[in-house]
């Protein structure tokens, strides 16, 4: 078994007592920019250990969804709960449990790798000594220990991404969001990221939501959410989604579901 399932429980459970609350529950989420409806009644749920690929074309609403989950701005309808905490009512509790790797590179290129990581730890209120221990471990896991003192500018794109993953995990979130993390990376870096996140989900019970428009990144062991024009067209383990769509591959399933072709 690759996925550690826990009892879903009452989906409306919220608040500090809901320790068993699922990592992420999105319910009836809608959002519009002016007249353009970016998201329409989006609902899904992530369980512990779930590695879920959010698959959609550019413009499907992936980035909007991520912006709402990370509370860059408020959603207008529906709810987002992170381990039971509603993001708008209890942003601190929700954000403290969330790790994010953004689509754009976000390392401070004026600072060293270690300084970048310490800065992140400080934002989460970690004491310096504790931060030092944790960042050593995280940077070791992405194989960049020897680069710790170097300026972030000297790192390659793939290495920067690895540092960003390490950074996202320093405050030990149990939910990780990755917004098209492999864009612009070479094959090896991309594979490293995929393997690393797979390992995190399998061995540490981390729940991960990975947005992508690259169908190759969706493997059979993952779950998938097909997002198209702001709506969820299918959700579930990849083999099941393929079966329900009467298809033989994820690519075929996507084409059938959306009537459009994917990269």
């Amino acid at each position: 078994m690759l996925e550690v399932k826990t009892q879903t429980g009452d989906a409306s459970a919220a608040g500090p007592s809901a320790r068993e609350a699922p990592p992420l529950v999105v319910e009836g989420l809608s959002h519009a920019f002016g007249k353009r409806q970016a998201l329409r009644e989006v609902s899904f749920q992530l369980e512990r250990g779930d590695r879920t690929m959010l698959l959609g074309l550019n413009g499907a609403g992936k980035t909007t969804l991520f912006s709402l989950i990370t509370r860059l701005y408020n959603h207008r309808g529906g709810s987002i709960r992170i381990f039971g905490w509603e993001i708008q009512r209890k942003p601190s509790e929700a954000l403290a449990r969330l790790g994010v790797v953004f689509q754009l590179p976000t390392l401070d290129l004026e600072l060293s790798v270690a300084q970048n990581l310490f800065y992140h730890a400080a934002l989460h209120g970690l004491p310096r000594r504790e931060a030092a221990t944790r960042l050593k471990r995280e940077i070791e896991r992405v194989g960049l220990t020897d680069r710790l003192r170097e300026n972030a500018r000297t790192l390659s794109g793939g290495q920067r991404r690895r540092v960003e993953i390490a950074r996202a995990l320093i405050h030990r979130p149990k939910l990780l969001l990755l917004d098209e993390p492999t864009v612009g990376l070479d094959v090896a870096s991309r594979q490293f990221l995929l393997d690393h996140v797979r390992m995190l989900c399998r061995e540490e019970g981390l729940a991960a939501l990975w947005a992508t428009h690259l169908i190759d990144e969706v493997d059979d062991e993952a779950r998938v959410i097909v997002l198209h024009r702001g709506q969820v067209l299918a959700e579930g383990p990849v083999p099941e989604v393929i079966r329900r769509a009467n298809a033989t591959s994820m690519r075929e399933a996507f084409d059938k579901l959306t009537g459009e072709r994917l990269e």
């Binding site: 920019f33 002016g34 353009r36 550019n58 413009g59 499907a60 609403g61 992936k62 980035t63 909007t64 912006s67 990370t70 509370r71 860059l72 701005y73 408020n74 942003p91 601190s92 509790e93 954000l95 403290a96 969330l98 994010v100 953004f102 689509q103 754009l104 590179p105 976000t106 390392l107 401070d108 004026e110 600072l111 300084q115 310490f118 800065y119 992140h120 730890a121 400080a122 934002l123 989460h124 209120g125 970690l126 004491p127 310096r128 950074r167």
Partner: protein, 268 residues
Amino acid sequence: MKPVHYYRCMRGIVWREALRFLNQRGRFLAALVRPLVWLLIFATGFRFVLGVSIIPPYQTYIPYQVYIAPGLIGMILMFQGMQSSLSMVWDRETGSMRTLLVSPLPRWYLLLSKLIAAVIVSVLQAYVFLIIGYFWGIHPPRWGYLTVLPALILSGMMLSALGLFLSSVIRQLENFAGVMNFVIFPMFFASSALYPLWTVKQANEKLYDICMMNPFTHAVELVRFALYEKFNHVAFAVVGGCLVLFAILAIVGYDPGRGLIARRQGGE
């Protein structure tokens, strides 16, 4: 989140700002060279053009470079304030603003920390300027170096808050030339930084009114008086009031519900 988390978070933000500033040595030099050029060249050239009569807080006739020193300190504070607001726009473009905004502490607190970090850097610059100025004939009373500190902090916060607010509203702020033309130069020239306002009043009443409404004038006067161990009530009230106003506007600008960020993110 406990108070100690708040403390660590602010310390981290200030630390990062200081590191960034020190790492960019060019920026440090540029920030110092600018007011020094004004002091060493402009003031020398103009000392015989502009006659300065005895006006408070000065008790004797003063050379021109002594008159413009507080104005140049104001310039340092303003440039730094604008620069940090620019770096926030830049941060937002490159995404490192987002890593700040997804951290768990309340957004107003994160902005406040940013503001304080910017002010600490600019106050340090102001003191370096005063030390160099000492060798150019700027000799305020000894305690003036201490009494000017609160004025520097308050004025610096006001100007940084203005920068923060602008960064939340104006998208094209990354173009520094634009900020120079539309914010820094008008505020700097329409103020008491370079000439006493009574000379402006003689020349043009309207311009005088504009200068009096310019918060930068009051920031400069607050610093000028404090440097000579005096307290300017009006300047204090205006600078304090503007600080509150700009801070509120900045917090609204970055509010996830009403903020302009929310309305702006039209595309994917």
